[in-house]
Amino acid sequence: MIRTTPNHVGVPAHVLWRSALISCLLFFAFLPRAVAQEPPYFVTYSSALEEPGNLEISLKNTQAAPANGNAFLGSALEFEYGVKGWWTTEFYLDGQATKNDSTIFTGFRWENRFRPLLREHFINPVLYVEYENTNFADRALLEITGHQTVADLVIPNNVARQEIEREMELKLILSTNTHGWNFSENFIAEKDLNESGPWEFGYAMGVSRPLSLISRGKSCFWCRENFAAGAEVYGGLGTTDGFGFKATSQYLGPTVSFGIPRGPTILFSPQFGLNDNSAHVLYRFSVSYEVQQVWNMFRRKN
């Protein structure tokens, strides 16, 4: 039986400082105003793609403290670029720090999202294709698939990093926007390209809404219009050898985003494990900044 220590933040101080420093650098690095229209999800994708020419830089962190292992902080530095109105590409650099263990780089991911239908419908599909080259020590937990459980999170880094995973991941993203609400559902299929193993499946669902549907004319910091709130639920669905919820981990949690005026957007979510295979709680925190029309920065001004 694997259990976790609830509410125990045991990350070394230098890791937290490093994370805070990177966040501050992201905060001050760019001056143009940064506002994205994406719902406040960590795992679930909606049909919102990056606007063409915009570059969003995010630092996504996941912190947990499994009872039988050391506390860790998994991070993913994300570069998201809108290539076309119907095509967004993203590149991730993943790393993690584990208490009483080490801080390591764990790999990279490259993902692409496409909108096959160019008009808006009640349900909007988006196709997602990702290649990831990460080792087993990766703790970013950007999705949960197959029989991935908390037991995988307590393996020492020097052992886990020996196993390299080269995976292809496919998602069907369905999303609805109505009356200010967003409802999104993702169906995930993942295959390790190294081995002739089974396909692994997972899901993620989210619902969210901005706290205010209209904008006040004057600039304000704590206005409701700067916040969005919601909830998401996600987990594994087994493999082709054993489809279902058995021996999978499942998480559910509220999520809130705060778009700082003329600054970055901050997301926070405590996500609670729904069964014994899940970590008791995952604390997720991200800082993202959107650089609008990034190529304009390199053009000569007349």
Partner: protein, 161 residues
């Protein structure tokens, strides 16, 4: 010999005809593409707007507070492409053209914001709440055609205060 000459002449004529055909095909193709692009650039999206959107009325039209909110949203989401003065930047069109200010109804623009024009680089703003989209439209319409720059200045002054 004479047979050879005849066949050579035929070959030369045939090649000439082939070249002319190719040229005609290229010209036709280029012209069609040009006309198609001009049609798109000329706002063919307006013809795609369903009748129920075309006749929609902006609930915030003429409301000063809502227009000020729209100015803020415009600055956040639209100004980087269309310019702070909404006159367009580079290939991004002006929102103070006759087409946007006079030909298109507010319902037409609402439909465009909802659906976008993904092939031509205009993203969909469906994730933005409907009232916020109406606020942006109220602001854009308040700017008027390109000569009415004074309105834009007034709202930006209000914003800075």
């Amino acid at each position: 010999m004479s047979r050879l000459r005849v066949s050579e002449k035929f070959l030369i004529r045939w090649r000439g005809a082939e070249q002319r055909c190719r040229m005609a095909f290229r010209v036709t193709l280029s012209t069609t593409a040009l006309v198609f692009c001009m049609a798109l650039a000329d706002g063919s999206w307006l013809q795609k707007v369903p009748a129920d959107y075309h006749t929609r009325v902006n609930p915030y039209a003429g409301q000063t507070a809502a227009i000020a909110g729209g100015a803020k949203l415009f600055g956040d989401h639209c100004a980087k492409c269309h310019g702070a003065d909404a006159l367009g930047r580079g290939k991004k069109p002006s929102l103070r053209s006759e087409r946007v200010q006079q030909q298109a109804t507010e319902g037409d623009i609402f439909w465009l914001l909802y659906n976008g024009n993904l092939r031509r680089g205009m993203p969909t703003w469906s994730a933005m709440p409907g009232p916020s989209r109406w606020q942006i439209i109220a602001y854009v319409k308040s700017l008027g055609p390109a000569s009415g720059a004074a309105t834009a200045v007034n709202y930006s002054e209000e914003k800075s205060q």
